[in-house]
Amino acid sequence: MSQTSVSYLEYQGKYKGILGWILSTDHKRIGLLYLYTIVSFFLVGATLGLLMKLELIAPGRTIMDAQTYNAFFTLHGITMIFLVVIPGIPAIFGNFFLPIMIGAKDVSFPRLNLLSWWLYVIGAAIAISSQFLGSGPPDTGWTFYAPYSLRVPTNVLSAVLGAFVLGFSSILTGINFITTMHRMKAPGMKWMKMPLFPWSLYATGWIQILATPIIGITLLMIVAERLFKIGFFDPSLGGDPLLYQHLFWIYSHPAVYIMILPAMGVISEIIPTFARKTIFGYSAIVISSFGIAFIGYFVWGHHMFAAGMSARSLWFFSLLTFIVAIPSAIKVFNWVATLYKGSINVQTPLYWALSFIFVFLIGGLSGLFLGSLAVDVHLTDTAFVVGHFHFIVFGGMGYAFMAAIHYWFPKIYGRMYDKSWANTGWLIFFMGFLALYFTMFYLGMKGQPRRTYDYFEEYHSGNIISSLGAIVMLFGLAIIIINLVRSARHGEKAPADPWGGKTLEWTIPSPPPIENFEEIPEITHDPYDYK
């Protein structure tokens, strides 16, 4: 066997053992590094979430005190948003599959890619250290709203600095991906012959580059304010707390699209493969990605409808919020239309993809309530919002992540997982998920505010269902993870193309050889060629 045809998993380079991984500039190994770190953080965040739901199963103190609860929802938010969902799909599957899908041997800047991962680890370490250093875990919520975040004695600084470093990691990944797509597409692969997952990463990359610096500078201002008493946001020094919210959401709203666009890209890959049919409306899906990225840049104000913005702002943001729903709807319609007259092979990834469409629909439609000004006044800052964004962020990114890992697992590890266990896990997870988050819509309509440690008796029954749902969901999650971990080592060997996929990653062996392609392929046909 020649050096180049060795799989990336077995390849022995300059460094051996663990160093061969954490110092590797191979995009596939970096993808897996991200996979392991992100999944670990996800489990931390999920555990915190479960503990919070257990606390809320009954009014009054159940298992923890209010300070702990507040610190938990802060850490849950920081971990899940900055450490899990934002890097999630782009850093793991983007790193692993973007070069392969466009017929390249690696990304444009492999060393920068490794640096991104290291920055991610360092940022994560700083953010997590906030729990143990200084005067106690931060309790501001992941939004760090001023002036509360300026006054509390808890250790807000390291959490903020951690988020800043993580932002850098995200920007570098975005720069790397965009450059790669500009410079390294295989000969013959025109832009409009590129598969949809790389397309979604392209749109995502631009948001990462153009939105992340805003949160960077905002967090730096918080640091300056806490350390040097420059009064950017403190009303007693002449600052305006609403300006903080503007700056924060200028990034953090587009961040939702950093999460959801790659998720949509994954779904756009899976549906044609399992329908054995080319995607319906390729260019509509591409254009809608950019529509989402661009319009999504100007809807941040809908997080602040009750905050006292000017009427003109409200008008503008509400209108654009409704308009940004349209490109997402177009994608859903195109996915469903792709199934029409297909020859559908129902497998685990398709279960996840179809349930993605279902939960994403619920998430998106519940957004209509919140986009509508008069209704939003009642629903904002209640459990309804919590339900809404968990349907979008967890239901969107989380389900797409599950779909992606079940879709590409055979390619990544060269082994197949146990399909019946995978399906069982999916079903239990799905049921638990609905119970957990759907009840939040009901609770929010009844008026239960969010981020509360305690609640009145009238909200008790809803909270019980929700908490039980969390337990069921995590049970399903355990089945899924155990199945995958077992199969990575002991599953039966997978062929190069187990699903009948047509994109480039299925033309190379599983697991991929170290250099991806013996010879760079020449592209002559469309990405989903089932003719």
Partner: protein, 96 residues
């Protein structure tokens, strides 16, 4: 995509000319503030001068003129986006 245009870049003189023009524009801006204080017209003029200077720096010093057109389009979009960002935020602060 984004292939550089092979035409070789001119001589050193270009940089001396841009430097002279940029300096003169700066001096004009300073002179303007001494002539009349803080009328909206003067402020507008000063910002216009800054914008012209920025364009000179981008096109000549940063060689945008000698690169693929797509990069110029990107830069144009970036600046429009920044402009839009400020306008949209100002919708709140001006009319509150």
């Amino acid at each position: 995509m984004m292939e550089p245009i092979k035409k070789k870049v001119e001589g050193y003189r270009l940089y001396m000319i841009t430097f002279t023009v940029l300096s003169i524009l700066t001096l004009i801006a300073v002179w303007l503030t001494h002539v009349r204080f803080a009328s909206p017209l003067v402020i507008g003029l000063i910002m216009l001068i800054a914008a012209i200077q920025a364009i000179i720096v981008l096109f000549y010093n940063m060689h945008l003129k000698f690169q693929d057109k797509i990069l110029t389009i990107f830069v144009g979009l970036i600046f429009s986006l920044i402009f839009l960002l400020i306008i949209v935020t100002m919708l709140d602060f001006v009319y509150r």
